[in-house]
Symmetry: C2
Subunit: 434 residues, 2 copies
């Protein structure tokens, strides 16, 4: 088998065999197939596509390029939940303790923010003392003892994916459905969870801008996961506006805790309940949809989820007193409202711009590994469909200085569109794929 | 401007600007754009294509990546002739002295054989003493003094092409029309000739297997050459069987000399006259097609072309006595006929296989820079459409030993197809593009 022949085969639109994909991924991982061959192959994959069998083979080959975590010794059913990335998406911080409080074992490997999209680990690290980078040993120990752990991906998982992603980033081969799907799923599969709920975002603040693209990605990932013997479901959820009101690490932690206290934004609360319900169903922990929602709602209402949150944070070294004292979280020097520039109904919010403004304020990063400020961020005060009067607070900016505040204000106002006439807000959930 | 954006633009099927192509080629030549970006770009170009303006811009950018030879100071009209590569194609050895004897200045940079396709320089080097690798200074001096020079491409011409070709070879991006056309033409343009006749081969022993592909390549190259201010024409000629009878370096030199003496194979002679006539027309050295053919035929008939051949060979250090004494050329140890395995009309010859058998005998190379044997080769004794009796000589093999002879015999016989019924031979010239 020769790499150049495999590239030529995909170039001509043919289907690669599992053996060919294994050979290519193994060769690349070992450094035997050079970058220039891999990038030509990736471009051919982007343009010619891959069928379900090829995509599953690619995912499994990348998953097996490093250590495969086996959680079966701990429990037969460990659950994980993955978001495709959005703005204000603090769902895992609520859902992980919520389903954990209902008896599910949550072993989640999570990511950091990059570009407009925030990351769960960054948000959790806003809590003083919280350790987001556990070793594999610590990950397993905490899962065993507390039934809940959320940590960064360990370095020895799916190294082929890290190499391939770095190359795709500089060769214009990122937006290839089989490569996106396999990149997400190989890490999930290597991380060992038996049950995976995918939250695929669609809209102006998501990587997938159209419902068709989001459904295609979700269906591909569900097929891959099942091909790898996992229970997988997907929720296609809206990202045409920030989820909830808060965008920014500490601000989102507060909003997540408020939600666990039953006082969260209506849309975000409903979203968390939907995701939790799907996890309960996948884990056979509820009879049906209605039962699952009822169980999840009860765990929020009676404080079980909040209690589990505190225990989880403490187990990972965090100061659990934040639950009742938000002043323990970092707070920005400048906290000021941005008034609505006109009266009208909020018609559109360029949500990617909201996310990028958060990055500009210091709350996210353009490049991997850059430091971030936990205290800065944005509170959107009204969502799409709401009527605002001219001059009333449209947003609140948490900034470290007046210069970034002013720049953020201009950028945020430019991201809004208003309408004279009333309009329907976008749906919260576009589709559920079981 | 960023390389990744240029790759993305071509990936999405858009047209690149001249500035973008210049930036990309210059960046690659200087080593600022890494191989892995260039190979992803090349794959996008292969699949998405390039229009005429893009292809011309790419060609000129590669031509200008190194030294541009300016021959205008020597003469306003220097001619060159290029073959796209075939089996038994010794046309340049006849046409260069033929048109030179009619007053044209021939300044030709030529290539070596690779794979099934032979190279003019290898053939000329079968002549004892012949120097095929002149310096730029020697090239110009000989062109001035003798009006004819055929030499290898100097290293400082179009270095971007050498780099790009090496990368294409290992990334399955060789068969891309704009890349093939620009690779050929950038060297021709950098080499300085004002008038270029392209001999594009089509058939089982050519890189272009279909007439449509050959015409597309020829038309693209003609458009590029004209876009670069050169006079360019093209002949689409048949390569469904070896040109003439001889395949092998010394054997082809003999056949070329025989042709210059007016005793060459009918098909090869006609081919040389057609190519020469087109060159004469491009150079305004003939009134019309009929006149051009008449002039060329006369120069063969009265010995002017042969005389010029001797002077040219001597000027480049070769032993011109070979003209009258073929024993000065190397001769193979084994020279034996292969009898026809059956009676019938010769219906097909897999000409690429004939070329590869020549390589196997030692007369060509699989890898650049490998040494070759000048004396080995194949004489086909009958061409397509001819009737052979069982047992009469079908081929003659010139081999260095019995082992390679036997292997060649098997391979050659497998390359022939016979028919019970008479059939028309393929046309010699498929089309002339003016």
């Amino acid at each position: 088998m020769r790499a150049v022949e495999i590239i030529a085969k995909k170039r001509d639109g043919h289907t690669l065999t599992r053996e060919e994909i294994d050979f290519f991924v193994q060769g690349f991982t070992r450094g035997e197939i050079p970058d220039y061959q891999v990038s030509a192959w990736a471009m051919a994959v982007l343009i010619r596509g891959m069928n379900a069998d090829e995509t599953t083979a690619l995912t499994l080959a990348m998953a097996h390029s490093g250590h495969m975590l086996d959680l079966t010794a701990i429990a037969p059913r460990v659950v994980d939940k993955h978001s495709s990335g959005g703005v204000g998406d603090k769902t895992s911080i609520v859902v992980a303790p919520l389903v954990s409080s209902l008896g599910l074992l949550v072993g989640k490997m999570s990511g950091r923010g990059l570009g407009f999209s925030g990351g769960t680990l960054d948000k959790l690290e806003a809590i003083p003392g919280f350790r987001a980078d556990l070793t594999t040993h610590e990950f397993i120990a905490q899962l065993k003892e507390h039934g809940i752990v959320v940590s960064g991906q360990t370095h020895d998982l799916a190294p082929a994916d890290g190499k391939l992603y770095a190359l795709r980033d500089v060769t214009a081969t990122v937006p290839a459905l089989p490569l996106i799907a396999s990149s997400i799923m190989c890490k999930k599969i290597a991380a060992g969870a038996h049950i995976i709920l995918l939250d695929v975002k669609v809209g102006s603040g998501a990587f997938m801008k159209t419902e068709a693209d989001a459904i295609a990605l979700a269906e591909t990932m569900v097929a891959i996961g099942r091909g790898a013997g996992r229970r997988v479901g997907a929720v296609i959820s809206d990202m045409n506006q920030p989820l909830g009101f808060a965008v920014g690490n500490a601000l989102e932690v507060i909003e997540a805790i408020e939600t666990l206290k039953g006082r969260g934004p209506r849309d975000f609360t409903e979203h968390c309940l939907t995701v939790a319900a799907q996890l309960l169903l996948l884990a056979d922990a509820a009879r049906d949809e209605t039962d699952a929602h009822k169980l999840a709602r009860a765990a929020l209402a009676d404080g079980r989820a909040l209690k589990k949150f505190g225990a989880w944070i403490a187990a990972q070294g965090g100061d659990a007193r934040v639950v009742n004292d938000y002043s323990l979280l970092p707070r920005a020097a400048i906290v000021e409202d941005v008034p609505a520039p006109r009266a009208g109904y909020i018609a559109k919010i360029n949500t990617e711009e909201i996310g990028l403004t958060g990055v500009m304020l210091g709350g996210g990063r353009e490049k991997k590994g850059a430091p971030i400020d936990y205290e800065v961020g944005i509170l959107v005060r009204h969502k799409i469909g709401a009527h605002v009067r001219r001059g009333e607070p449209l947003l609140t900016i948490h900034a470290k200085d007046h210069t970034t505040f002013a720049a953020a204000e201009d950028r945020l106002l430019a991201a809004y569109e208003f309408s004279e006439t009333a309009l329907e807000p976008p749906p919260l959930i576009h589709r559920i794929i079981k």
